[in-house]
């Protein structure tokens, strides 16, 4: 018991350094995913056929490909074609590009879920389509978006654990390097697991509960 605890304590700083990288990666990929996802949703809802086809094609293809392969294509594949990305850049591009499809579909669903009468009323009042989107559609879509968006955030943070395969020093990477030194794979993996699980609980439970209370206050 004593030795177990000391191994956990000894490698905690290393794992926490990895955790910092995990958090940074998650934040960067989230920003990319949300912004790009919004554009994808607008593209799919656009009346311009070319935009619709382009966005739909992107979403359908990218979300069917496992994240690990996307990582390898952007890191190794792009490099072979002359576009050399650093591990971190490749990670942000891959995760952001993949989660944009998830966020895009969430946004699209929420926008489509808004009653037609709402846009009709806004149009009849003379609001432009941009104003209708900004003042009428998006504020209403926001609360439908929150729960699935939180869910995807917790998936995103878990998927950052794949970036160790392209040598980005995240939490999973540090756990692996620790276990290859101290030969305590179960301890190191469980310790990393506890850290991941804390993030999961914060996102799923705390955010989830906050959303429910906000929702309740609104009604």
């Amino acid at each position: 018991m004593q030795t177990l605890w000391s191994a956990w304590m000894q490698y905690l700083p290393l794992l926490l350094r990895g955790t910092a990288m995990t958090v940074e990666l998650t934040a960067a990929a989230l920003v990319v995913g949300v912004l790009f996802g919004f554009l994808l949703a607008l593209g799919r809802l656009s009346r311009v056929p070319a935009l619709d086809t382009l966005a739909t094609g992107y979403v359908e293809v990218v979300r069917a490909i496992p994240v690990l392969i996307i990582l390898f294509i952007t890191y190794y594949g792009f490099a072979e074609l002359g576009l050399v990305l650093s591990g971190i850049t490749a990670a942000v591009v891959s995760l952001g590009g993949f989660y944009a499809t998830q966020y895009g579909e969430i946004f699209r669903g929420a926008i489509l879920g808004i009653d037609r009468g709402q846009t009709e009323a806004a149009t009849a009042l003379g609001l432009t389509s941009a104003q209708t989107m900004r003042r009428v559609v998006l504020p209403q879509a926001f609360f439908t978006i929150l729960p699935p968006a939180t869910n995807q955030l917790s998936n995103l943070i878990k998927d950052t654990s794949l970036v160790f395969t392209i040598s980005v020093a995240d939490l999973m990477y540090q756990a692996n390097s620790a276990l290859s030194v101290n030969f305590l794979p179960m301890d190191m993996l469980l310790e990393a697991g506890v850290i991941y699980f804390i993030f999961y609980l914060i996102i799923a439970k705390v955010l989830g509960r906050w959303e429910v209370s906000v929702q309740r206050r609104r009604n």
Partner: protein
Amino acid sequence: MSNDVVIRADRLSKRFGTLTVFEDVSIEVKKREVVAIIGPSGAGKSTFIRCINYLHTFNQGTLEILGHTIVGGHNHPSKDVLQDIRTRVGMVFQTFNLFPHLNVIENITLAPVEVKKVPRAQANARAMELLEMVGLPHKAEMYPKRLSGGEQQRVAICRALAMEPEVMLFDEPTSMLDPELVGEVLAAIRRLAKEGMTMVLVTHEMQFAKEVADTVVIMADHGVVEKGPAREVLESPRTERAQSFLHRVLNPEEVPDPLEQEVLPIGGRR
């Protein structure tokens, strides 16, 4: 267009694929005139009134409105033209369509502030005047969900009036309301009519149409079957289709019960 004609629809037709919604509908609305469109459901009334402010396109015919001319078919009017029409034509919907995330006063001031760039304070003051007029000043801070249907519809009328429209369109404004709430909404519309607002009104309220409308248009079977001065059309319709429609709405108890056609004992077999 003679000077006091505000809207002239000339033989408008609307189709979705092979489905005809309405065909060859012509109406004319003069300044300060109230035109009521009545008729059985499915006659295309709601779609037609949406063509007037171009919420729906139409396939054929010519629409002259507030000095603009729109020809049906593939040439969409420019954004500026649509914007001009929509800021000058107000619309009230069957399902109210208030914005649920905005409170009453925000619902009313949204368009004046965003579209006409009216200063917020001025927009708020005007909104309060309008709420006063429909008897709802105390509900200004409430959200639509908290209001009864009749109150929501009166707010929706204020929202349209806040743009200071020259024409008001009403699409069955009372058909979603409980009977006891219809009166308060009709009172607001009646008041507008007295003040000389130009209005087109799709309605099921025959008595009300007779009272406020100058002209009544009966739409049935995808077209206009009769139109003329309200009292004349409603009291002594000339066409047979109009007669049968009016007879049925005025004497609902005479409509045969379909179950009586072929009486089956409940729980029995054929």
